[in-house]
Structures are given as C-alpha cells and as structure tokens.
C-alpha cells in the first residue's frame, strides 16, 4: 500500500492500513533519534511552516524538532507577532506563505475544522496539530505508537481514557485510532465531562474510576483543561481530584502490568498523583520522545505524497 495523502487532518478519515504505515515509518525514525547525529537529510531543501494560534510548548517544539531532524527549514509563526494581529484572515496568511514557496503547513487553531478549511484551499500539505475540540492526530498516533512499543500490540487491549472527554481532541483522536486498530476503548470521568452518545463511537463509559482501573491494560490520563472549566461543569477541583485523580492507592487495584500515559502538560495532584506520574508504570516521557519520531514520519510521508487537486474548491469559490 502506498501513501497518497497531501494532508493529515484527523484519524477518523484514515484507514487502519494508513495508520500502520505511519507507525511503521515512525519506527524507522525512532532509531535515528538514538544515533550520535540525530539527523537524516531526506527533507533537505523543503520548508515547513508552524502556525500555532494556541499556546503550546510540547507540540510546537516537537514538530519544529522533527522538521529539523529531517533537515527541512522551518518558520514558526504565532498570532501575537504576525499580521493576524492586523486583521489578516487565516486563508490570506496561508496563501501569502504559500507564495513564498513553502511545502507544508503545520497548524494549531482554536477553531475546530480550521486545518480542513486550509487543506482544501492551498496546494501545500497541511498537518493538523490540534484544532479546537475536534482532533489532534499526531498526539493520537504517538499515544498508539507508545502503546504498541510497550505492549507489543494494539489488538484486544483495554485502553482507558480518564478525564475531561468532552473538551478533549486528544481523546477523540485516540478513540478513532485505537478502535480502528482493534483495541477496546473506555472513557471515565464526571458525567458532565462525557459527551452524550459517545457509545456510538464504540466506547464503553465508566463513572467509577476504581472499577475502570480494574478493567484497563493502558490508562491514558487527560489533562484537566483548567482554562475550559469556567462553565460550572465541575463543583471544585478538589472534588474532581478526590473522585478522578489516578493515585497510587487506586492503582493498586489495577492490573500489575498496567501502562500509565499522559499527553501533558500535567496538573500534578489534580488528575494524576506525582507518584504515579514518576512511577515504574509511567511511559509519559517515552511518549514525548516517540512524538518526535511520529511527527518525522508524518512530515516525511506527506512530503512524498501526491499533490491532490486543490484547484476545484478555489474555482468553485471564485464563481
């Protein structure tokens, strides 16, 4: 099977074969990261633009590093220092960058669907680095890669996602990717933070953390997005923590070989006990390393893929 996409927008639209291509390619790049010279010249002469409309350290530096490890040139744009401040639209910004002959755009945006909007209108490839509450495909891929690396398989594993599922693009990307590869996925959190109808995605729902932990082979603990908790969905942080914090005591109920993950940044003591985060079951820092390899694979595959016809949409809009 060949890779033929120009963009990576979400995991929902990928086939299991395509997900496996990315994971297998990432494995080759993971080896590069252990070399004395952690660079390969495959994207020499390509230019990749990172547009982050939301604050991010891990994802933006991971993409930047991935591009540099492939010897591509990178340009980093944040809205505070760009013409977005002067009222330029997203599309105009992207078209102007494209006129400077760039090859790929990595975009994080607060608005769900922004990367899809761009992908249909510019010739350069578009990578979604997180859009609103919709998708964060590279985070989903690096989580799946890490599970595969630690557990040797995805098929048949019980993967539990704990926390604020409603506001989480990480949860959505994980659910789509993992179920496609044959894992059993469950979510756990307060009823106010679990979207209605999530069972339709093939997901089991737990409201009791102890019960959920007994079931799980892998526990992915989401960050409680403090900036999104102003709507009164939680009485207090302390109450959330008392019921849903993954503590060492609670983990004693879990399977002895349970794998603990967290996409970061962590609120220590809120959703995860520091003793769990730094404990023997935690693979949180492996996730970060694997993230660079997975993003290298994505940038590499998208650079070699065929350029899809984008002229059509543009033509339609002109009419």
């Amino acid at each position: 099977m060949k890779w033929s996409r120009k963009d990576l927008l979400d995991l929902e639209s990928l086939s299991s074969e395509e997900i496996n291509i990315i994971l297998d390619t990432a494995k080759s790049f993971r080896e590069v990261l252990d070399r004395p010279i952690k660079k390969v010249p495959i994207l020499r002469g390509r230019t990749i633009v990172n547009m982050f409309f939301e604050p991010s350290t891990r994802t933006s530096s991971s993409f930047d590093m991935a591009a540099k490890r492939l010897m591509a040139d990178t340009v980093n744009i944040s809205p505070r220092t760009s013409a977005v401040q002067k009222g330029e639209t997203l599309l105009d910004t992207a078209r102007n960058l494209e006129a400077m002959k760039i090859d790929l755009v990595v975009i994080r945006h607060w608005s769900s669907g922004a990367p899809h909007f761009l992908a249909k209108r510019i010739k350069a490839g578009v990578v979604n680095a997180g859009d609103g509450q919709h998708a964060h495909p590279t985070q989903g891929l690096l989580d799946i890669y890490t599970i595969r690396e630690k557990r040797g398989r995805i098929q048949g594993l019980n993967v539990l996602i704990v926390g604020d599922i409603t506001h989480s693009r990480v949860a959505r990307s994980n659910i789509h990717g993992l179920t496609k590869l044959g894992a059993k996925v469950a979510v756990c959190g307060p009823a106010t933070l679990i979207p209605i109808g999530i069972e339709q995605l093939g997901v089991r729902v737990f409201y009791n953390l102890e019960e959920a932990l007994k079931w799980a082979d892998v526990v992915n603990i989401l960050r409680l997005q403090l900036e999104r908790q102003k709507k009164g969905l939680l009485p207090t942080l302390r109450e959330y923590s008392r019921l849903f914090c993954v503590t060492e005591e609670r983990l004693r109920q879990a399977k002895p070989d349970v794998t603990i993950m967290h996409p970061g940044p962590m609120n220590r003591g809120v959703e995860i006990d520091p003793r769990v985060a730094d404990g023997a079951s935690s693979v949180i820092l492996d996730q970060v390393t694997n993230g660079v390899a997975v993003r290298m694979a994505v940038l590499y595959l998208l650079s070699g893929g065929e350029v899809a016809a984008v002229a059509e949409v543009t033509k339609k809009e002109a009419n």
Binding site: M1, K2, W3, S4, I21, D24, T25, K27, S28, F29, E31, V32, R35, P36, I37, K39, V40, P41, I42, L43, L70, Y300, L301, S303, G304, G305
Partner: protein, 184 residues
Amino acid sequence: MTKQKAVIMDAKQMERALVRIAHEILERNKGTQDLLIVGIKRRGDTLGKKIARIISDIEKVEVPYGALDITFYRDDLQTIAHQPVVNQTELNHDVTNKVVVLVDDVLYTGRTVRAALDEILDFGRPKRVELAVLIDRGHRELPIKADYVGRNVPTSQKEIIGVRTLEEDGEEKVIIKEKADEVE
C-alpha cells in the same frame, strides 16, 4: 512486464564469488583488525551477513557486522514510487577508526552507495571505507568504484539485474531480465 533472459550466476557461483571477496578483503586488510562489514538493505544485508560469516569461518574470530537502510538519504524523494518504510538501520558498532566494508548486491548508478557513504559518515569517522558488490553492471552516474567485485556484467540500461537470495526469494541465483515494453 519483464521477461527473464538468462541466469548469469547460480547458487554455487554466487557462493564462490562471495568466498573470493571474503579472501580479498582479508588479504587487502591483512586480517580482521578494525574490520566492520556493513550491508546495504535489503539484498546487500543478506550478502554482507554471508561475507561476515565466511570471514569468521576463515579467521576463527567474530567480525562485527551492521546493516544500513539508506531510504532517508536518497536523492529522489519526488520520483520514487512512494513506498512505506519498514526497514531500519542496525548499526550497533562505533565506525570511528574502523575499516568499513560496504556490501551491496548490484552496483549501477552509484547513487545508493553515495547515500550509504553519507549515512555512514553521520555515524562517525571511519579510517577507510571500501565497497564490495556481487555484480557491477556499469552505467555509473557518480564517480564511485568498487574495491571487490563478484562479477562484471556489461548491461544495457533496458535490462534489469535480479539478485535472488534464499532468505528473501527462496532461491539463490543472479538473473538478467529485459524490460519488455520498453519503447525505443
């Protein structure tokens, strides 16, 4: 489609060529001191392992071995039919001050060897790099020359040389094929 024209080496001839190359490597380097054999994936990896084994049998010492996957060093990202990568470089030895003998199945344009040289140099600074190939078919596009050659096979660019190994193809031979639908 391609049609097979002739078998240019059978299993026995391949084995003899590899044994001779192994002896030549030992002769030129006066033994196995500082020697590191590195196969270029995938067929060069198979042949490189064989050469390393033959040298070990002759000298009764283990010769260090590694394998390179040169995909990330290619110069034709746009033109290759884009295949997913599932191979990996496995080089667990320090190359600095070693005599690295690169092994590949067929030497043709020289571009694969160029990529392998670039990759090897990213791992360290070898004392010397040598090149061993089973078949040299000519048509170089870069100034690259093999130090050890199994057989020189003059070819036309319309032809394809296929090295078959037991590990990958279930049979050992070298065949020459013609691109049948080539329009002149």
